[in-house]
């Protein structure tokens, strides 16, 4: 037995370490018990109605677009970056694709519109990524400028909502799917779960995904280990742009058309959901599946407040309070984590 490993060889120490690890696991996945408690709380406040199919459906359906945009923010945060432009990218790409299908090239199939939408989102992500990785622009400033440019860009394209889109374009965000032995479920809900699972898979099972964590955890170390950190950052922003655009697609389907304000109010909830899901603002830490928990928590609170007949204007304030509480909580969790780690 080597001297190094004999440092903590005694059985008692190991048991202690196991307990500490279990504690760390619980801290890392805190969102799920919080979601459960919140859900139970609203179910008690709104007996019978809150747990109805209609409400659960509403809760999940309204979460789908936000879910995609939360993933877009989440992957940037994990890579140690920041993306303020997720909401405006969603809105701009949705508007560009809607005009493409109705005014610029009417009669084109919906799938062409989806291709345009993804291309626009990916290109804006590429612009962000290249500026940040190659030119060393601060991510906050870079994505703030793209936020402003494309927020304005939406209004340059159209100040009116665009309707009359092909059914095939609206299908994924707007249609229900009939299930045997169950009531119809919006396709967007499946799309959301698929996106979360897909991104979880990419981030945990592929070389690129582990490189995203490595770059976010310690960029210098990642470079010393031979990772092309610029490539990883650029690709991260491209994916973020594509996910934002998919968010725009889901929201278009939900609304039945592209509205100029479709993505505007999405940035802060997406950010909040990612953070309360435990994705670290400092990069390298967090599980995107937990950020789904964050999305569902915001959805639960939103649906609950609506059903309690609380003024919808208050919901944003409530989201802000949730974010504030989450940041406070995670600051304490982080300190507690470090204490636990130093005990290991």
């Amino acid at each position: 037995m080597s001297t190094i490993s004999s440092l903590r060889s005694s059985v008692d120490d190991l048991r202690e370490a196991d307990r500490t690890r279990m504690m760390l696991f619980a801290l890392d996945n805190l969102i799920w018990p919080i979601l459960l408690v919140t859900f139970v709380l609203f179910s008690l406040l709104l007996p019978e109605i809150f747990t109805q199919y209609r409400n659960i459906r509403f809760l999940l359906y309204t979460s789908a677009g936000l879910g995609a945009i939360t993933l877009a923010e989440g992957i940037c945060l994990i890579s140690g970056n920041f993306d303020l432009s997720v909401g405006s990218v969603a809105g701009f790409s949705a508007m560009a694709a809607a005009l493409f299908l109705t005014e610029w090239f009417p009669g084109m199939p919906g799938v062409a519109g989806i291709a345009v939408l993804l291309l626009v989102g990916g290109s804006i992500g590429l612009l962000n990524g290249v500026s940040i990785a190659k030119f060393g622009v601060n991510p906050f400033l870079q994505t703030l400028s793209t936020l402003i440019i494309f927020e304005g860009g939406i209004l340059v394209l159209s100040t009116q909502s665009v309707y009359g889109l092909p059914a095939s374009y609206l299908w994924i965000g707007g249609e229900d799917i009939d299930l045997p032995l169950f009531r119809p479920i919006p396709l967007a809900i499946f799309a959301m779960f698929a996106l979360f699972l897909g991104m979880w898979f990419i981030l945990t099972k592929t070389r690129f995904g582990r490189a995203v964590y490595a770059v976010g955890g310690d960029e210098d170390s990642a470079a010393e280990a031979g990772i092309d950190t610029n490539r990883v950052v650029i690709l991260t922003f491209v994916i973020s742009g594509v996910l934002s655009a998919i968010g725009g697609l889901l929201l278009t389907g939900f609304n039945g058309g592209a509205t100029p304000t479709l993505g505007t109010s999405q940035l802060f909830p997406a950010f909040t959901a990612a953070v309360i899901g435990g994705i670290s603002l400092f990069g390298g830490r967090g599980n995107v599946l937990n950020s789904l928990g964050g999305v569902l928590l915001l959805g639960t609170i939103g649906a609950g407040l609506v059903m309690l007949n609380i003024d919808p204007q208050i919901i944003q304030t409530v989201n802000g309070i949730v974010l504030f509480a989450a940041i406070l909580l995670y600051t304490f969790v982080q300190r507690y984590r470090e204490r636990l780690l130093s005990d290991l």
Partner: protein
């Protein structure tokens, strides 16, 4: 060690500037086959910069690097690995959030094709390999799934060394491999270095502990303000003579004659 044939690595007139700071100036140095070369010098003498230039993290402003007599441009750590160089960095270059195995295979995770198409990390193989390298080469037994942030300083250093061995390099650079280790663990690393030499490896080691350097190395290169002061055989030098070179920036003969003022009949070379 033999002096036959070209050096494993040779640097000629290597220069590296950071702004106005000349980190390396006109460095000439040979790394002979199968030797253990120590790099010593004060902080800022250019030891780490030299290593980082040799693995392509910095590109030299002037000068050449030759591997086995052939001039090479080293693009980065990945390229250095392909050229047979493994590196343990001073800062260990570990990512806290990732596991032992993921850190050891960072940037080169073994991949398998899921369903014949989708390339995913072959976690099982990676963990087996990591465990095997740590236990066989370093005699350390760790769960390869443990995040490295859970580990002690010594264990972390062991992972960093294990990582340098993953690509089975011929040449190993060790930048202060023992700084966070206990005395017993240091002995362990010394035995490992010895074993690496016995199995044909060529090693460069940076270490602040001069006793360790003297006992481990065949030759010692002393750096001072970005240049090589002198390269001496470890058997033929004392700790005090090295310190004198590190402080004065003068080669061995010169420092001794300075020490003995104007006595021209100094008996030692």
């Amino acid at each position: 060690m033999t002096d036959d044939g070209p050096a494993r690595i040779e640097v000629r007139n290597l220069q590296k500037r950071f702004g106005t700071v000349e980190a390396l100036s006109d460095v000439n140095l040979e790394l002979r086959d199968n030797e253990i070369l120590g790099l010593v010098g004060d902080n800022g003498a250019g030891k780490s910069t030299l290593i980082r230039t040799l693995v392509g993290l910095h590109q030299p402003d002037e000068g050449e690097i030759l591997i086995d007599g052939k001039p090479v441009t080293i693009d980065g750590p990945k390229h250095a690995r392909k050229l047979g160089i493994g590196t343990v960095y001073q800062d260990l270059a570990l990512v806290d959030q990732l596991s032992v195995a993921e850190n050891m295979f960072l940037g080169r995770n073994p991949v398998k094709k899921l369903g014949g198409i989708l390339p995913v990390i072959d976690t099982e193989r990676m963990q087996e390999e990591a465990e095997r390298i740590l236990s066989e080469r370093l005699d350390i037994h760790l769960d390869p799934e443990t995040p490295v942030e859970y580990l002690s300083g010594g264990e972390r250093q062991a992972i960093a060394i294990g990582r340098a061995l993953v690509s089975d390099p011929d040449i190993v650079f060790l930048d202060e491999p023992t700084s966070a280790l206990s005395k017993a663990a240091v002995d362990h690393v010394e035995r490992l270095v010895e074993e690496l030499q016995n199995t044909g490896h060529t090693i460069v080691i940076i270490d602040h502990n001069l006793e360790e350097v003297l006992s481990m190395t065949d030759r010692i290169a002393v750096l001072f303000q970005g240049r090589v002061v002198d390269v001496v055989d470890s058997d033929e030098v004392t700790r005090d003579a090295i310190v004198a070179m590190m402080v004065s920036g003068q080669p061995m003969g010169a420092t001794e004659s300075v020490g003995e003022s104007d006595s021209a009949s100094s008996p030692t070379a």
